[in-house]
Point group: C2
Chain length 321, copies 2
């Protein structure tokens, strides 16, 4: 939605985050005018929509997402933030920015609220089929991210599996477990399970992009669903229940807010040579603002340089293994 | 825990479910005495514990779980219910009872509470690595189960994936999607996603045992965690919040109860030639009672015969495909 993107960009600019809008100037200008605010516009009349295929970016170099990546490539922008087609954003980032040395597959990282803080879960959808070596690379990138964002020097890395014991899991996780055990410079915690996610049993959790995507959508969907059930039970209750509901509303809201994905805004695509962020298509202005803040913070934390350094520390045989 | 198992068995017997206790008579007799109740005991001094490997059942034919399966095999019991080692229960069932014709891999089915009723999710852990043909067989077995337990004549079957579109997913789900499209006698709904689970977008959801196990543990764990967060926000709130909390307690409890796994007791192992059920190791008497009720209901519904009939309807080439 250009309305939300422009409104969020205006909020960010007022905070001192310099934003360039990339898209159709004829759509963006009237939106900006509503806010009586000026922002530089990089015009592109072509926009990849949800109906297009991710691979279409290849032949549509003039599309807004390709143009945004090109601005990053040319150092005219520090980061690209897209609230649109996530597959197309990924494809454009790979195509224009390329991969960091040692990274076979870039991964999307989601920040999940947990009991004690946050969990960095990756990959949540960039790679439906993974090899053990990819999971090892995700572990390194997740560690760098958790250091920068969670303020932990030695964040623990868990491998999502179906039992705590080393020999439990599928073929992929059994192989990945061995590899993670031998990986230098990560703090490998061992296997974690579905129930560990919101407990926050480890700071980073690595998994293939299929499982990660199912987890992310279940975790978000279940929170939304449960609060819906609770709301229904409260408004459908006796008058005493309704009075109680009014009294506990602020407390319930605070818990719900903790789980609101719009609080986090956007998910970084880690492993490409440049800062790229993918937001929910249905984001509101607040989510766009959060996304832009996350982008700035990542640049300030020099995430990219740190990931490159982390990958360089992996023994060569392992990187290609 | 023999205490919970015996207490649950006594409750079941009082309801008219004839239970045979299988295990160490020296442990079971004093437990029964506490209830001043008589139940037949099939003595076996050997018990597979959580520290044993599932494969150990092979050389321990006298263990209680193997003996329980043998009673089913010999038609001395209609069903075997175990609250112990789930891997060992599965191995014992396969070894003693064997597979229904056309079933490559038996699957564990979990009943998940959803907005409108329940979802039958399988496999939740019997097969960490799956082929598309297994998912097809799960679809048939899940359909039979949903017909018997959810009272739906044409239950819909969803394929757990990472996008609604047919071409989205990993290699396994893309192949399974095609196969399910061609499967007679199931009502294939298409792909579902993590967020669809508690929405109950389809009556049956099929997935590999790795993803299914992660889903099950996440769904249970998240519900538990969220209610913990809510409790903490309520007891840690102002005195007005605390008054409200007291008033909404029954309503919140009713929602929490809907999500309590002990309400459902045990998960059937579908695809073996006999009724076998796997319960939580940490079950209380109520969960054991629910498990025994589920077992009786399955036998009464002639689940086994119906699964065999369903499998026989699958074109031969598909069964082996």
């Amino acid at each position: 939605m250009p309305q939300a993107s422009v409104a969020g960009a205006v909020l960010a600019a007022k905070e001192g985050i310099p934003v360039i809008l990339v898209g159709d100037a004829e759509v963006l200008k009237p939106e900006l005018a509503k806010h009586q605010f000026e922002l530089p516009i990089h015009h592109s009349s072509d926009v990849i929509t949800m109906d297009d295929h991710a691979g279409d970016v290849r032949k549509r170099k003039g599309s807004s997402i390709m143009q945004a990546m090109q601005l990053v490539k040319d150092s005219q922008a520090a980061a690209a933030v897209s609230m649109g087609h996530s597959g197309a954003t990924m494809a454009a980032a790979l195509l224009v920015l390329g991969r960091i040395k040692g990274v076979d597959r870039p991964a999307i990282l989601a920040t999940i609220p947990s009991r004690a803080g946050f969990v960095a879960l990756l990959d949540v959808g960039a790679n439906a089929d993974c090899r053990a070596a990819y999971l090892q690379q995700f572990a390194v990138m997740g560690t760098v991210y958790a250091r920068a964002f969670f303020g932990k020097m030695q964040p623990t890395v868990g491998l999502m599996s179906i039992g705590e014991e080393e020999h439990k899991g599928n073929e992929l996780t059994k192989e990945a477990h061995e590899l993670l055990n031998k990986t230098p410079n990560i703090n490998f915690f061992g296997n974690v399970e579905g129930r560990d996610l919101l407990k926050g049993s480890s700071d980073v959790m690595v998994t293939d992009g299929f499982t990660g995507n199912v987890i992310l959508k279940l975790a978000e969907g279940e929170a939304k669903e449960l609060f819906g059930w609770i709301r229904a039970a409260l408004v459908g209750g006796s008058w005493l229940t309704k009075i109680g509901a009014a009294l506990v509303k602020p407390a319930l809201r605070s818990v719900a807010a903790k789980l609101d994905p719009s609080e986090y805004g956007a998910q970084p695509l880690l492993g490409v040579k440049g800062y790229a962020f993918i937001g929910h298509g249905s984001s509101d202005a607040k989510a766009v603002l959060s996304a832009l803040r996350t982008a700035r913070r990542s640049v300030e934390a020099q995430l990219l340089e740190k990931i490159a350094a982390g990958m360089a520390e992996l023994p060569k045989a392992m990187v290609t293994g």
